[in-house]
Protein backbone atom coordinates (compact mmCIF):
# COMPACT_ATOMS: atom_id res chain seq x y z
CA UNK A 1 0.00 0.00 0.00
CA UNK A 2 2.74 2.34 0.99
CA UNK A 3 4.76 1.63 -2.17
CA UNK A 4 1.68 2.27 -4.26
CA UNK A 5 1.22 5.67 -2.65
CA UNK A 6 4.87 6.46 -3.13
CA UNK A 7 4.68 5.44 -6.77
CA UNK A 8 1.63 7.64 -7.33
CA UNK A 9 3.39 10.58 -5.72
CA UNK A 10 6.42 10.03 -7.89
CA UNK A 11 4.28 9.85 -11.00
CA UNK A 12 2.42 13.00 -10.02
CA UNK A 13 5.78 14.70 -9.46
CA UNK A 14 6.99 13.56 -12.85
CA UNK A 15 3.82 14.87 -14.42
CA UNK A 16 4.08 18.31 -12.85
CA UNK A 17 7.72 18.40 -13.91
CA UNK A 18 6.75 17.63 -17.46
CA UNK A 19 4.05 20.27 -17.17
CA UNK A 20 6.64 22.80 -16.07
CA UNK A 21 8.91 21.66 -18.85
CA UNK A 22 5.96 22.14 -21.16
CA UNK A 23 5.63 25.70 -19.90
CA UNK A 24 9.31 26.23 -20.56
CA UNK A 25 8.85 25.02 -24.07
CA UNK A 26 5.94 27.33 -24.70
CA UNK A 27 8.06 30.25 -23.56
CA UNK A 28 10.76 29.19 -25.90
CA UNK A 29 8.41 28.89 -28.83
CA UNK A 30 6.98 32.27 -27.95
CA UNK A 31 10.48 33.69 -28.06
CA UNK A 32 11.21 32.07 -31.39
CA UNK A 33 7.90 33.49 -32.47
CA UNK A 34 9.15 36.95 -31.53
CA UNK A 35 12.31 36.26 -33.46
CA UNK A 36 10.34 35.44 -36.57
CA UNK A 37 8.32 38.58 -36.02
CA UNK A 38 11.58 40.50 -35.92
CA UNK A 39 12.60 38.67 -39.04
CA UNK A 40 9.28 39.69 -40.52
CA UNK A 41 10.13 43.30 -39.82
CA UNK A 42 13.45 43.00 -41.57
CA UNK A 43 11.68 41.67 -44.61
CA UNK A 44 9.19 44.48 -44.27
CA UNK A 45 11.93 47.04 -44.67
CA UNK A 46 12.49 45.53 -48.08
CA UNK A 47 8.87 44.79 -48.78
CA UNK A 48 9.61 45.19 -52.49
CA UNK A 49 12.05 42.28 -52.34
CA UNK A 50 9.60 40.21 -50.30
CA UNK A 51 6.87 40.62 -52.91
CA UNK A 52 9.27 39.90 -55.76
CA UNK A 53 10.42 36.72 -54.05
CA UNK A 54 6.83 35.73 -53.52
CA UNK A 55 6.10 36.38 -57.20
CA UNK A 56 2.62 37.87 -56.68
CA UNK A 57 1.41 41.32 -55.75
CA UNK A 58 -1.84 40.79 -53.87
CA UNK A 59 -4.04 43.86 -54.18
CA UNK A 60 -6.91 44.38 -51.76
CA UNK A 61 -9.89 46.04 -53.40
CA UNK A 62 -13.62 46.46 -53.17
CA UNK A 63 -15.99 46.65 -56.10
CA UNK A 64 -15.73 50.39 -56.73
CA UNK A 65 -16.31 51.70 -60.23
CA UNK A 66 -14.50 53.34 -61.94
CA UNK A 67 -11.42 52.38 -59.90
CA UNK A 68 -11.81 48.60 -59.52
CA UNK A 69 -14.69 46.62 -60.97
CA UNK A 70 -15.17 43.37 -62.88
CA UNK A 71 -15.80 43.30 -66.63
CA UNK A 72 -18.18 40.82 -68.29
CA UNK A 73 -15.62 38.03 -67.95
CA UNK A 74 -15.12 38.69 -64.27
CA UNK A 75 -11.67 40.19 -64.78
CA UNK A 76 -10.90 43.21 -62.62
CA UNK A 77 -10.59 46.43 -64.57
CA UNK A 78 -10.74 50.13 -63.72
CA UNK A 79 -8.24 52.92 -63.31
CA UNK A 80 -6.70 51.48 -60.16
CA UNK A 81 -6.82 47.90 -61.40
CA UNK A 82 -5.06 48.79 -64.66
CA UNK A 83 -2.43 50.81 -62.81
CA UNK A 84 -1.87 47.91 -60.41
CA UNK A 85 -1.44 45.53 -63.33
CA UNK A 86 1.11 47.87 -64.92
CA UNK A 87 2.96 48.25 -61.62
CA UNK A 88 3.10 44.48 -61.08
CA UNK A 89 4.41 44.03 -64.60
CA UNK A 90 7.12 46.59 -63.85
CA UNK A 91 8.02 44.62 -60.72
CA UNK A 92 8.08 41.41 -62.72
CA UNK A 93 5.40 39.72 -60.61
CA UNK A 94 1.86 38.50 -61.14
CA UNK A 95 -1.02 40.51 -59.79
CA UNK A 96 -3.91 39.07 -57.83
CA UNK A 97 -6.99 41.05 -56.82
CA UNK A 98 -8.85 40.12 -53.66
CA UNK A 99 -12.11 41.71 -52.65
CA UNK A 100 -11.75 42.55 -49.01
CA UNK A 101 -13.97 43.72 -46.22
CA UNK A 102 -13.09 47.44 -46.27
CA UNK A 103 -13.34 47.70 -42.47
CA UNK A 104 -10.49 45.18 -42.14
CA UNK A 105 -8.15 46.78 -44.68
CA UNK A 106 -5.44 47.65 -42.16
CA UNK A 107 -5.46 44.15 -40.62
CA UNK A 108 -5.43 42.57 -44.09
CA UNK A 109 -2.39 44.65 -45.02
CA UNK A 110 -0.47 44.34 -41.77
CA UNK A 111 -1.03 40.59 -41.59
CA UNK A 112 0.36 40.10 -45.09
CA UNK A 113 -2.91 38.69 -46.42
CA UNK A 114 -2.68 41.46 -49.02
CA UNK A 115 0.24 43.63 -50.14
CA UNK A 116 -1.53 46.84 -51.10
CA UNK A 117 -4.82 48.65 -50.60
CA UNK A 118 -5.50 50.12 -54.01
CA UNK A 119 -9.07 51.17 -54.33
CA UNK A 120 -9.59 54.91 -54.60
CA UNK A 121 -8.55 55.20 -50.99
CA UNK A 122 -8.82 58.72 -49.54
CA UNK A 123 -5.68 59.64 -47.63
CA UNK A 124 -7.21 60.32 -44.23
CA UNK A 125 -5.32 60.45 -40.94
CA UNK A 126 -6.52 56.92 -40.16
CA UNK A 127 -4.96 55.68 -43.37
CA UNK A 128 -1.71 57.66 -43.33
CA UNK A 129 -1.03 56.77 -39.71
CA UNK A 130 -1.45 53.06 -40.22
CA UNK A 131 -0.07 52.53 -43.72
CA UNK A 132 2.83 53.62 -45.79
CA UNK A 133 1.02 55.61 -48.45
CA UNK A 134 2.02 56.70 -51.93
CA UNK A 135 1.89 60.30 -53.07
CA UNK A 136 -1.61 61.27 -54.16
CA UNK A 137 -2.55 60.29 -57.69
CA UNK A 138 -6.13 61.54 -57.79
CA UNK A 139 -7.91 64.47 -56.22
CA UNK A 140 -11.37 64.01 -54.87
CA UNK A 141 -14.11 65.85 -53.06
CA UNK A 142 -17.20 64.92 -51.08
CA UNK A 143 -20.46 65.84 -52.69
CA UNK A 144 -24.08 65.83 -51.57
CA UNK A 145 -26.37 63.55 -53.57
CA UNK A 146 -30.11 64.27 -53.65
CA UNK A 147 -33.01 63.27 -55.90
CA UNK A 148 -32.94 65.42 -59.06
CA UNK A 149 -36.45 66.83 -58.56
CA UNK A 150 -35.52 68.57 -55.30
CA UNK A 151 -31.94 69.42 -56.25
CA UNK A 152 -32.82 73.07 -56.84
CA UNK A 153 -33.55 73.63 -53.13
CA UNK A 154 -30.22 72.33 -51.91
CA UNK A 155 -27.51 74.24 -53.68
CA UNK A 156 -25.60 75.60 -50.69
CA UNK A 157 -24.35 74.30 -47.37
CA UNK A 158 -26.94 76.27 -45.31
CA UNK A 159 -29.85 74.46 -46.92
CA UNK A 160 -28.59 71.04 -45.81
CA UNK A 161 -29.37 71.27 -42.10
CA UNK A 162 -32.95 70.02 -42.45
CA UNK A 163 -32.01 66.89 -44.39
CA UNK A 164 -31.28 63.43 -43.06
CA UNK A 165 -28.05 62.06 -44.50
CA UNK A 166 -26.58 58.62 -45.11
CA UNK A 167 -22.78 58.38 -45.13
CA UNK A 168 -20.34 55.50 -45.35
CA UNK A 169 -19.08 54.56 -41.91
CA UNK A 170 -15.49 55.70 -41.47
CA UNK A 171 -15.39 57.51 -44.80
CA UNK A 172 -14.22 61.03 -45.62
CA UNK A 173 -17.88 61.77 -46.26
CA UNK A 174 -18.71 60.98 -42.65
CA UNK A 175 -15.95 63.34 -41.49
CA UNK A 176 -17.34 66.09 -43.72
CA UNK A 177 -20.90 65.54 -42.48
CA UNK A 178 -19.69 65.60 -38.89
CA UNK A 179 -17.67 68.77 -39.46
CA UNK A 180 -20.74 70.54 -40.86
CA UNK A 181 -22.94 69.25 -38.03
CA UNK A 182 -25.29 67.44 -40.42
CA UNK A 183 -27.89 64.99 -39.21
CA UNK A 184 -26.53 61.67 -40.52
CA UNK A 185 -26.69 57.90 -40.20
CA UNK A 186 -23.57 55.82 -40.85
CA UNK A 187 -24.12 52.96 -43.29
CA UNK A 188 -21.90 50.15 -44.57
CA UNK A 189 -20.78 51.53 -47.91
CA UNK A 190 -21.18 54.39 -50.33
CA UNK A 191 -23.43 52.27 -52.50
CA UNK A 192 -25.64 51.53 -49.50
CA UNK A 193 -25.77 55.29 -48.93
CA UNK A 194 -26.98 55.74 -52.51
CA UNK A 195 -29.59 53.02 -51.96
CA UNK A 196 -30.78 54.92 -48.90
CA UNK A 197 -31.42 58.01 -50.98
CA UNK A 198 -32.95 56.10 -53.89
CA UNK A 199 -35.34 54.31 -51.55
CA UNK A 200 -36.18 57.47 -49.64
CA UNK A 201 -34.86 56.11 -46.34
CA UNK A 202 -32.56 59.13 -46.21
CA UNK A 203 -33.04 62.49 -47.87
CA UNK A 204 -29.48 62.77 -49.09
CA UNK A 205 -26.06 61.20 -48.87
CA UNK A 206 -22.44 62.26 -49.02
CA UNK A 207 -20.18 60.32 -51.36
CA UNK A 208 -17.00 60.74 -53.40
CA UNK A 209 -17.16 62.99 -56.42
CA UNK A 210 -15.49 60.26 -58.47
CA UNK A 211 -18.07 57.72 -57.44
CA UNK A 212 -20.91 60.16 -57.98
CA UNK A 213 -19.58 60.78 -61.48
CA UNK A 214 -19.66 57.09 -62.28
CA UNK A 215 -22.70 55.86 -60.35
CA UNK A 216 -25.49 58.43 -60.66
CA UNK A 217 -27.26 60.37 -63.38
CA UNK A 218 -28.46 59.30 -66.79
CA UNK A 219 -27.38 55.91 -68.06
CA UNK A 220 -26.66 54.54 -64.57
CA UNK A 221 -28.63 52.58 -61.97
CA UNK A 222 -29.64 55.88 -60.37
CA UNK A 223 -30.93 58.12 -63.16
CA UNK A 224 -33.04 60.18 -60.73
CA UNK A 225 -30.22 61.25 -58.45
CA UNK A 226 -27.85 64.15 -58.88
CA UNK A 227 -25.11 65.82 -56.89
CA UNK A 228 -25.23 69.40 -55.73
CA UNK A 229 -23.03 70.84 -53.00
CA UNK A 230 -19.28 70.16 -52.98
CA UNK A 231 -18.67 69.92 -49.24
CA UNK A 232 -14.96 70.58 -49.58
CA UNK A 233 -15.63 73.89 -51.29
CA UNK A 234 -18.55 74.67 -49.01
CA UNK A 235 -16.59 74.18 -45.80
CA UNK A 236 -13.32 75.49 -47.21
CA UNK A 237 -11.76 72.19 -46.29
CA UNK A 238 -8.71 70.87 -48.06
CA UNK A 239 -9.27 68.69 -51.06
CA UNK A 240 -8.95 64.96 -50.58
CA UNK A 241 -6.43 62.86 -52.34
CA UNK A 242 -6.40 59.24 -53.34
CA UNK A 243 -3.31 57.18 -52.61
CA UNK A 244 -2.16 53.59 -52.62
CA UNK A 245 -1.62 52.04 -49.19
CA UNK A 246 1.27 49.70 -48.46
CA UNK A 247 2.44 48.08 -45.23
CA UNK A 248 3.79 50.45 -42.64
CA UNK A 249 7.51 51.16 -43.14
CA UNK A 250 7.39 49.48 -46.55
CA UNK A 251 9.59 50.74 -49.36
CA UNK A 252 6.82 49.97 -51.84
CA UNK A 253 5.32 53.46 -51.62
CA UNK A 254 8.58 54.96 -52.86
CA UNK A 255 8.82 52.42 -55.66
CA UNK A 256 5.29 53.23 -56.67
CA UNK A 257 5.96 56.99 -56.64
CA UNK A 258 8.90 56.52 -59.00
CA UNK A 259 6.88 54.21 -61.20
CA UNK A 260 4.00 56.68 -61.28
CA UNK A 261 6.26 59.57 -62.19
CA UNK A 262 7.77 57.61 -65.07
CA UNK A 263 4.35 56.46 -66.29
CA UNK A 264 3.05 60.00 -66.06
CA UNK A 265 6.04 61.33 -67.95
CA UNK A 266 5.34 58.82 -70.71
CA UNK A 267 1.68 59.78 -70.81
CA UNK A 268 0.55 56.24 -69.94
CA UNK A 269 -1.30 57.28 -66.76
CA UNK A 270 -3.31 59.84 -68.70
CA UNK A 271 -4.20 57.17 -71.27
CA UNK A 272 -5.57 54.81 -68.63
CA UNK A 273 -7.37 57.67 -66.88
CA UNK A 274 -9.07 58.60 -70.14
CA UNK A 275 -10.34 55.04 -70.55
CA UNK A 276 -12.20 55.27 -67.24
CA UNK A 277 -13.18 58.93 -67.34
CA UNK A 278 -11.10 60.06 -64.35
CA UNK A 279 -8.64 62.27 -66.26
CA UNK A 280 -10.09 65.39 -64.62
CA UNK A 281 -9.04 64.14 -61.22
CA UNK A 282 -5.47 63.06 -61.95
CA UNK A 283 -2.69 64.50 -59.84
CA UNK A 284 0.73 65.04 -61.36
CA UNK A 285 3.67 63.31 -59.65
CA UNK A 286 4.84 65.11 -56.51
CA UNK A 287 8.22 66.17 -57.92
CA UNK A 288 6.56 68.55 -60.37
CA UNK A 289 3.53 69.27 -58.20
CA UNK A 290 4.70 72.16 -56.05
CA UNK A 291 2.10 74.41 -57.63
CA UNK A 292 -1.42 74.77 -56.29
CA UNK A 293 -3.78 71.83 -56.42
CA UNK A 294 -6.11 73.38 -59.00
CA UNK A 295 -3.17 74.03 -61.25
CA UNK A 296 -2.22 70.38 -60.83
CA UNK A 297 -5.59 69.24 -61.98
CA UNK A 298 -5.49 71.65 -64.89
CA UNK A 299 -2.02 70.42 -65.78
CA UNK A 300 -3.20 66.89 -65.57
CA UNK A 301 -6.19 67.63 -67.73
CA UNK A 302 -3.98 69.38 -70.27
CA UNK A 303 -1.53 66.53 -70.24
CA UNK A 304 -4.39 64.09 -70.64
CA UNK A 305 -5.73 66.09 -73.58
CA UNK A 306 -2.29 66.17 -75.08
CA UNK A 307 -2.03 62.43 -74.64
CA UNK A 308 -5.38 61.86 -76.28
Amino acid sequence: MKTKKLLSLLLAGAMSASLLAGCGNTNETAETGDDTADGGETTQTSDFQYIQDKGTLIVGITNFAPMDYPDENGEWIGFDADMAKAFAQEMGVDVEFIEINWDNKIMELESGAIDAVWNGMTLTDEVTNSMSCSDPYCVNAQVVVVPSDVAGQYQDADSLSELSFAVESGSAGEDAAEALGLNFTAVQSQSTALMEVASGASDACVIDLLMAGAMIGEGTSYPDLTYTVNLNEASGAESEYYGVGFRKDSNMAESFNNFYAAMYEAGKVQEIAQTYGVQESLVAPQASADTAETADTADAADAADAAA
Partner: protein, 242 residues
Amino acid sequence: MSASVTFSSVTVTLFEGLVTTAQLFFLTLVFALPIGLLLSFGAMNRWQPFRMLRGTKFASGRFGCALSELRPISLVVKTVVWIIRGTPLMLQIIAIFFGPRLLWGFDLIDRFPSALLTFVINYACYFSEIFRGGIQSVPVGQQEAGLVLGMTKGQIFFKVTLLQVIKRVIPPMGNEFINLVKDTALARTISVYEVLWMGESFIKSAGLMWPLFYTAVFYLAFNGILVLLFGWLEKKLDYFRA
Protein backbone atom coordinates in the same frame (compact mmCIF):
# COMPACT_ATOMS: atom_id res chain seq x y z
CA MET B 1 -22.59 46.58 -66.20
CA SER B 2 -25.94 46.81 -64.53
CA ALA B 3 -27.67 46.14 -67.81
CA SER B 4 -26.20 42.64 -67.90
CA VAL B 5 -27.54 41.74 -64.46
CA THR B 6 -30.56 39.50 -64.89
CA PHE B 7 -32.47 37.20 -62.62
CA SER B 8 -30.68 34.18 -64.06
CA SER B 9 -27.22 35.74 -63.82
CA VAL B 10 -27.86 36.62 -60.17
CA THR B 11 -29.09 33.09 -59.54
CA VAL B 12 -25.94 31.65 -61.08
CA THR B 13 -23.74 33.94 -58.97
CA LEU B 14 -25.60 33.04 -55.80
CA PHE B 15 -25.26 29.34 -56.64
CA GLU B 16 -21.50 29.88 -56.83
CA GLY B 17 -21.70 31.31 -53.34
CA LEU B 18 -23.89 28.42 -52.25
CA VAL B 19 -21.17 25.96 -53.25
CA THR B 20 -18.79 27.67 -50.83
CA THR B 21 -21.48 27.78 -48.14
CA ALA B 22 -22.19 24.07 -48.60
CA GLN B 23 -18.50 23.16 -48.50
CA LEU B 24 -18.08 25.11 -45.30
CA PHE B 25 -21.17 23.47 -43.83
CA PHE B 26 -20.34 19.85 -44.67
CA LEU B 27 -16.63 20.04 -43.88
CA THR B 28 -17.41 21.67 -40.54
CA LEU B 29 -19.74 18.78 -39.68
CA VAL B 30 -17.25 16.13 -40.81
CA PHE B 31 -14.65 17.44 -38.37
CA ALA B 32 -16.75 19.01 -35.62
CA LEU B 33 -18.99 16.00 -34.90
CA PRO B 34 -16.20 13.55 -33.91
CA ILE B 35 -14.20 16.28 -32.17
CA GLY B 36 -17.34 17.29 -30.29
CA LEU B 37 -17.81 13.70 -29.09
CA LEU B 38 -14.20 13.57 -27.90
CA LEU B 39 -14.63 16.89 -26.10
CA SER B 40 -17.75 15.59 -24.37
CA PHE B 41 -15.72 12.64 -23.05
CA GLY B 42 -13.10 15.15 -21.92
CA ALA B 43 -15.67 17.23 -20.08
CA MET B 44 -16.97 14.11 -18.31
CA ASN B 45 -13.51 12.76 -17.54
CA ARG B 46 -13.24 11.94 -13.84
CA TRP B 47 -9.52 11.39 -13.68
CA GLN B 48 -8.18 12.77 -10.41
CA PRO B 49 -4.38 12.51 -10.41
CA PHE B 50 -4.08 13.74 -6.81
CA ARG B 51 -6.77 11.51 -5.45
CA MET B 52 -4.34 9.58 -3.27
CA LEU B 53 -3.92 12.74 -1.23
CA ARG B 54 -7.42 12.29 0.08
CA GLY B 55 -7.46 11.38 3.72
CA THR B 56 -3.87 12.58 4.21
CA LYS B 57 -2.96 15.48 6.44
CA PHE B 58 -2.18 17.60 3.33
CA ALA B 59 -5.75 17.31 2.06
CA SER B 60 -7.18 18.71 5.25
CA GLY B 61 -6.10 22.19 4.13
CA ARG B 62 -8.28 24.08 1.69
CA PHE B 63 -5.68 23.96 -1.12
CA GLY B 64 -4.84 20.32 -0.56
CA CYS B 65 -8.48 19.40 -0.55
CA ALA B 66 -9.11 21.22 -3.83
CA LEU B 67 -6.01 19.64 -5.35
CA SER B 68 -7.07 16.16 -4.35
CA GLU B 69 -10.40 16.67 -6.10
CA LEU B 70 -8.93 18.31 -9.21
CA ARG B 71 -10.02 16.82 -12.53
CA PRO B 72 -7.51 18.42 -14.90
CA ILE B 73 -8.80 17.07 -18.22
CA SER B 74 -12.36 18.04 -17.46
CA LEU B 75 -11.19 21.45 -16.25
CA VAL B 76 -9.18 22.17 -19.41
CA VAL B 77 -12.01 21.08 -21.71
CA LYS B 78 -14.58 23.09 -19.78
CA THR B 79 -12.36 26.17 -19.91
CA VAL B 80 -11.91 25.85 -23.67
CA VAL B 81 -15.65 25.37 -24.15
CA TRP B 82 -16.30 28.42 -21.98
CA ILE B 83 -13.92 30.58 -24.03
CA ILE B 84 -15.27 29.44 -27.38
CA ARG B 85 -18.93 29.65 -26.44
CA GLY B 86 -18.35 32.87 -24.54
CA THR B 87 -16.88 34.94 -27.37
CA PRO B 88 -18.49 36.06 -30.64
CA LEU B 89 -17.91 33.74 -33.59
CA MET B 90 -17.07 36.74 -35.75
CA LEU B 91 -14.27 37.69 -33.38
CA GLN B 92 -12.93 34.14 -33.51
CA ILE B 93 -12.95 34.19 -37.31
CA ILE B 94 -10.96 37.43 -37.33
CA ALA B 95 -8.59 36.22 -34.60
CA ILE B 96 -7.80 32.89 -36.26
CA PHE B 97 -7.24 34.38 -39.71
CA PHE B 98 -5.36 37.54 -38.78
CA GLY B 99 -3.92 36.60 -35.39
CA PRO B 100 -1.11 34.22 -36.41
CA ARG B 101 -0.10 36.52 -39.25
CA LEU B 102 0.03 39.58 -37.06
CA LEU B 103 1.85 37.90 -34.18
CA TRP B 104 4.29 35.60 -35.93
CA GLY B 105 4.10 36.42 -39.62
CA PHE B 106 2.73 32.90 -40.10
CA ASP B 107 0.61 32.84 -43.22
CA LEU B 108 0.12 29.19 -44.13
CA ILE B 109 -3.63 29.11 -43.58
CA ASP B 110 -5.64 30.68 -46.37
CA ARG B 111 -9.05 32.29 -46.00
CA PHE B 112 -11.32 29.29 -46.50
CA PRO B 113 -9.33 26.80 -44.36
CA SER B 114 -9.04 29.47 -41.71
CA ALA B 115 -12.81 30.00 -41.63
CA LEU B 116 -13.30 26.22 -41.62
CA LEU B 117 -10.95 25.82 -38.66
CA THR B 118 -12.88 28.44 -36.71
CA PHE B 119 -16.22 26.82 -37.44
CA VAL B 120 -14.91 23.38 -36.50
CA ILE B 121 -13.58 24.61 -33.14
CA ASN B 122 -16.71 26.62 -32.41
CA TYR B 123 -19.20 23.95 -33.38
CA ALA B 124 -17.23 21.12 -31.75
CA CYS B 125 -17.68 22.96 -28.45
CA TYR B 126 -21.44 23.35 -28.91
CA PHE B 127 -21.75 19.73 -30.06
CA SER B 128 -19.76 18.52 -27.05
CA GLU B 129 -22.32 19.97 -24.67
CA ILE B 130 -25.16 18.40 -26.61
CA PHE B 131 -23.41 15.01 -26.61
CA ARG B 132 -22.68 15.34 -22.90
CA GLY B 133 -26.34 16.05 -22.20
CA GLY B 134 -27.30 13.06 -24.33
CA ILE B 135 -24.86 10.67 -22.68
CA GLN B 136 -25.68 11.78 -19.15
CA SER B 137 -29.41 11.45 -19.79
CA VAL B 138 -28.99 7.70 -20.18
CA PRO B 139 -29.64 6.24 -16.70
CA VAL B 140 -26.52 4.97 -14.88
CA GLY B 141 -28.51 1.84 -14.04
CA GLN B 142 -28.06 0.65 -17.61
CA GLN B 143 -24.28 0.85 -17.31
CA GLU B 144 -24.39 -0.97 -14.00
CA ALA B 145 -26.57 -3.63 -15.57
CA GLY B 146 -24.08 -3.97 -18.38
CA LEU B 147 -21.22 -4.36 -15.92
CA VAL B 148 -23.13 -7.01 -14.05
CA LEU B 149 -23.60 -8.88 -17.30
CA GLY B 150 -19.84 -8.75 -17.82
CA MET B 151 -19.75 -6.24 -20.69
CA THR B 152 -16.71 -4.04 -21.12
CA LYS B 153 -17.03 -0.25 -20.90
CA GLY B 154 -16.60 0.00 -24.67
CA GLN B 155 -19.32 -2.54 -25.29
CA ILE B 156 -21.66 -0.73 -22.93
CA PHE B 157 -21.04 2.60 -24.67
CA PHE B 158 -21.44 1.36 -28.24
CA LYS B 159 -24.15 -1.26 -27.74
CA VAL B 160 -26.26 0.29 -24.98
CA THR B 161 -25.66 4.01 -24.63
CA LEU B 162 -24.79 5.36 -28.08
CA LEU B 163 -28.01 4.63 -29.93
CA GLN B 164 -30.07 6.23 -27.19
CA VAL B 165 -27.72 9.22 -27.25
CA ILE B 166 -28.16 9.62 -31.01
CA LYS B 167 -31.91 9.51 -30.65
CA ARG B 168 -31.89 12.10 -27.89
CA VAL B 169 -29.45 14.55 -29.46
CA ILE B 170 -31.28 14.77 -32.77
CA PRO B 171 -33.61 17.68 -31.92
CA PRO B 172 -30.87 19.93 -30.42
CA MET B 173 -28.52 18.89 -33.23
CA GLY B 174 -31.13 20.02 -35.74
CA ASN B 175 -30.99 23.44 -34.11
CA GLU B 176 -27.22 23.58 -34.36
CA PHE B 177 -27.12 22.38 -37.98
CA ILE B 178 -29.57 25.11 -38.97
CA ASN B 179 -27.58 27.68 -37.02
CA LEU B 180 -24.44 26.54 -38.79
CA VAL B 181 -25.99 27.12 -42.22
CA LYS B 182 -26.69 30.72 -41.24
CA ASP B 183 -23.44 31.24 -39.35
CA THR B 184 -21.41 30.43 -42.47
CA ALA B 185 -22.42 33.92 -43.60
CA LEU B 186 -19.94 35.31 -41.05
CA ALA B 187 -17.07 33.92 -43.12
CA ARG B 188 -17.49 36.87 -45.44
CA THR B 189 -15.69 38.96 -42.77
CA ILE B 190 -12.44 37.50 -44.07
CA SER B 191 -13.53 37.53 -47.70
CA VAL B 192 -14.79 33.99 -48.09
CA TYR B 193 -17.24 34.51 -50.92
CA GLU B 194 -20.33 32.68 -49.70
CA VAL B 195 -23.97 33.32 -50.56
CA LEU B 196 -24.47 36.47 -48.53
CA TRP B 197 -21.28 38.07 -49.85
CA MET B 198 -22.43 37.32 -53.40
CA GLY B 199 -25.84 38.83 -52.65
CA GLU B 200 -24.30 41.96 -51.14
CA SER B 201 -21.86 42.33 -54.02
CA PHE B 202 -24.69 43.43 -56.32
CA ILE B 203 -25.31 46.48 -54.17
CA LYS B 204 -21.82 47.71 -54.91
CA SER B 205 -21.55 46.61 -58.51
CA ALA B 206 -25.01 47.43 -59.80
CA GLY B 207 -26.85 49.23 -57.04
CA LEU B 208 -29.28 46.31 -56.71
CA MET B 209 -30.77 45.42 -53.35
CA TRP B 210 -32.98 42.49 -54.31
CA PRO B 211 -30.16 39.91 -54.77
CA LEU B 212 -29.35 40.38 -51.08
CA PHE B 213 -32.90 39.47 -50.07
CA TYR B 214 -32.99 36.74 -52.70
CA THR B 215 -30.25 34.92 -50.73
CA ALA B 216 -32.98 34.12 -48.17
CA VAL B 217 -34.45 31.67 -50.71
CA PHE B 218 -31.14 29.79 -50.82
CA TYR B 219 -30.86 29.61 -47.04
CA LEU B 220 -34.49 28.54 -46.71
CA ALA B 221 -34.05 25.79 -49.30
CA PHE B 222 -30.87 24.55 -47.61
CA ASN B 223 -32.51 24.53 -44.20
CA GLY B 224 -35.70 23.05 -45.61
CA ILE B 225 -33.73 20.00 -46.73
CA LEU B 226 -32.18 19.76 -43.26
CA VAL B 227 -35.58 19.96 -41.57
CA LEU B 228 -36.89 17.14 -43.78
CA LEU B 229 -33.77 15.09 -43.13
CA PHE B 230 -34.06 15.47 -39.37
CA GLY B 231 -37.78 14.69 -39.44
CA TRP B 232 -37.03 11.50 -41.36
CA LEU B 233 -34.23 10.56 -38.94
CA GLU B 234 -36.46 11.07 -35.94
CA LYS B 235 -39.10 8.87 -37.46
CA LYS B 236 -36.51 6.25 -38.31
CA LEU B 237 -35.35 6.12 -34.69
CA ASP B 238 -38.87 6.09 -33.34
CA TYR B 239 -39.00 2.30 -33.10
CA PHE B 240 -37.54 2.24 -29.64
CA ARG B 241 -38.73 4.52 -26.92
CA ALA B 242 -36.07 5.05 -24.35
